[in-house]
């Protein structure tokens, strides 16, 4: 058990270089995306909003609060880059046949799994914290400022109107953090199941970006044509359910249960494989 904890720590530290690289890359890209919105806003003199593009209905975003970080960590780019080192935690051991060495040093596989998972999520926590801090620092530069549940245009980059949105104040930063944890658990589990860092990163990203987008599009078509049947069952749209859970979207029943249930199922499958697979020497 102690060996497993030591190994979890040391492997996280060893991965700190790529962790740092990917984190900084994610942060830079995030800033570029957000600041480009500011630039576009200034040029076009339109009201802009920080966070997920296209989400203009404040009522559906109670998660957006003072820090403004909630929507930002859900930025797909940030999730993508954050998932690279998380997937690498386990996948690299498969890729380089290092598990034999690991199990010789720390033979309790459950403890190894738990230790690496804990340290990976710890890294996610630190990254999300740092990103939130960066957003706080960048906040005044952004055109929309949120305080005490009221969103107003930033005094620095005030654009077309002094729109004031009154929002239900609910500080759901923890919901966003849990969502990201869940996403990373999915990434980690898929990297164990497929033994591939690339697939661990890409599968959820494509599922989120492709399948669920198509499903949403199909949903819109279905609604427009007043057809009652759903093209893809709501339960299979894991990430949409996760986002609905953050935003407490009443349209999605059992959103949290579906999202975290999916995470748990994948986690259990990957744990079983991790425990039962023979170790290649």
């Amino acid at each position: 058990m102690v060996n497993a904890l030591r190994y979890g720590l040391v492997s996280s530290l060893k991965l700190s270089k790529p962790f740092l690289f990917f984190f900084i890359s994610a942060l830079v890209l995030f800033c570029v995306v957000e600041l480009s919105q500011v630039a576009v806003g200034l040029v076009n003199q339109v009201q802009l909003q920080m966070g997920t593009p296209g989400a203009t209905d404040p009522a559906s975003f109670p998660g957006l609060s003072t820090f403004g970080a909630q929507a930002s960590v859900m930025n797909a780019l940030f999730l993508f880059f954050l998932s690279i080192p998380v997937a690498g935690q386990f996948a690299q051991e498969y890729r380089f046949n290092m598990l034999a060495n690991t199990f010789l040093m720390a033979p309790n596989r459950i403890a190894d799994f738990a230790s690496k998972t804990v340290f990976a999520l710890l890294y996610v926590l630190v990254s999300v914290g740092l990103l939130s801090l960066a957003v706080v620092l960048l906040g005044p530069l952004l055109p929309l400022k949120l305080q005490d549940g009221t969103a107003t245009a930033s005094p620095i980059f005030a654009t077309s109107a002094n729109i004031t949105w009154t929002m239900t104040l609910e500080n759901s930063w923890w919901r966003v953090l849990l969502y990201v944890f869940g996403y990373m658990v999915i990434v980690m589990s898929l990297s164990i199941i497929t033994k591939s860092q690339t697939l661990g990163v890409l599968l959820p990203f494509f599922y989120l970006g492709l399948v669920e987008t198509v499903a949403s599009f199909a949903d819109v078509l279905v609604t427009q044509k007043s057809i009652e049947t759903n093209w893809i069952p709501e339960q299979l749209r894991f990430f949409r359910n996760g986002q609905a859970w953050i935003n407490q979207d009443a349209a999605f029943s059992n959103a949290g249960l579906i999202y975290f249930g999916s995470c748990l199922i994948l986690l259990v499958i990957s744990l079983l494989l991790f425990l039962r697979r023979d170790t290649k020497v």
Binding site: V2, N3, R6, Y7, V10, S11, K14, Q92, F96, N97, M98, A100, N101, F103, L104, M105, A106, P107, N108, R276, D278, T279, K280, V281
Partner: protein, 314 residues
């Protein structure tokens, strides 16, 4: 530490890789684990350490590797050169291993020097030769000053000096009451320093005995005698009940464990002998006989191969 493996069995689909293997390893002894390629040696070692799943169990002083207190420190194992991160240096790899197992970090330099990697400590794994990787693996196994060493073909790729060092190191290690199990498919290599032998083929245990007892399996020896009076000597031997056969025009093969009686006979009858060459089954012959028709990966004979080549060209 007493090590007992009981009924180890493993199959991949319908293919049995390890079949009801039971043996024990004594403290203070080096046990050679022999078998042809694909006999199941590496799988057996992996099973002993819980790396591969299967039936049966291996107990180290009554406990499995997983449940043995301080197992990773008391047992040093090296099962192949693949288990390293290519971007780690030799020193980094050993430091991680030492930190994880709670071993003092000064041991890292000690073992690097011991295996002769002191000057390559900062070299990345991906730039190392097979021999250097073997040395790094052996260094990892020695890091904790263990009581037991389990090594899978550790001499592969090592230069003669390193093989000699490994041999004398293992002999000293065992003399201090420690246990060694090392596998090889080369019987000559093992025969130089092993006390006991385990021979397996197609996953089955064929022999488990001391090296001395294994050597006794050698067939009664014969001698090849070169003489100009082959016919005279042959009939003389026959009348004195010596089994013999003609090996060539001027060579007789005499089947006897002792050469003195027929040499005396030749001298008494004035037969000139120019050369006496003892012939007998060597260790390799015994090993091949034991494992004959029990290897999954048998090479075809050069003549068959050449005949096939000829047919294909024709």
């Amino acid at each position: 530490m007493l090590i007992e493996a009981t009924a180890l069995s493993k199959r991949y689909g319908s293919r049995i890789v390890v079949d009801q293997l039971s043996f024990s390893l004594e403290p203070g002894k080096i046990t050679g684990f022999l078998g042809p390629n694909g006999a199941g040696k590496s799988t057996t070692m992996s099973m002993m350490l819980g790396l591969a799943r299967g039936k049966g169990e291996t107990l180290f002083d009554g406990k499995t590797y997983k449940t043995l207190k301080d197992g990773p420190r008391r047992i040093g194992a090296y099962l192949g050169p693949g288990s390293f991160h290519p971007r780690h240096t030799a020193r980094e790899h050993l430091r991680i291993s030492a930190f994880t197992r709670g071993i003092a970090l000064y041991r890292v330099n000690d073992v690097l020097d011991a295996v002769g990697l002191g000057t390559a400590a900062s070299m990345r794994v991906k730039g190392m030769s097979t021999g250097m990787l073997q040395k790094l693996g052996i260094a990892t196994a020695l890091l904790s000053e263990p009581e037991v060493l389990i090594l899978d073909e550790p001499a592969n790729g090592l230069d003669p000096q390193s093989v000699q060092w490994l041999r004398s190191f293992l002999q000293d290690f065992a003399k201090s009451g420690n246990t060694v199990l090392l596998s090889s498919h080369l019987i000559h290599e093992i025969a130089q320093f092993a006390d006991n032998l385990l021979v397996i083929a197609q996953g089955e245990l064929i022999a488990s005995e001391s090296l001395d007892s294994f050597l006794k399996r050698q067939k009664p020896s014969s001698f090849r005698i070169r003489t100009t009076q082959v016919d005279t000597f042959a009939s003389l031997l026959e009348t004195h009940n010596f089994q013999q056969s003609r090996a060539s025009e001027d060579v007789l093969e005499v089947y006897s464990e002792n050469s003195t009686p027929f040499i005396r006979l030749a001298l008494d009858h004035g037969i000139e002998i120019f050369e006496i060459q003892p012939v007998g089954s060597n260790l390799e012959d015994i090993f091949l006989e034991l494992t004959s028709n029990r290897s999954d990966y048998v090479s075809e004979s050069p003549s068959t191969h050449n005949a096939k080549k000829g047919r294909n060209r024709g």
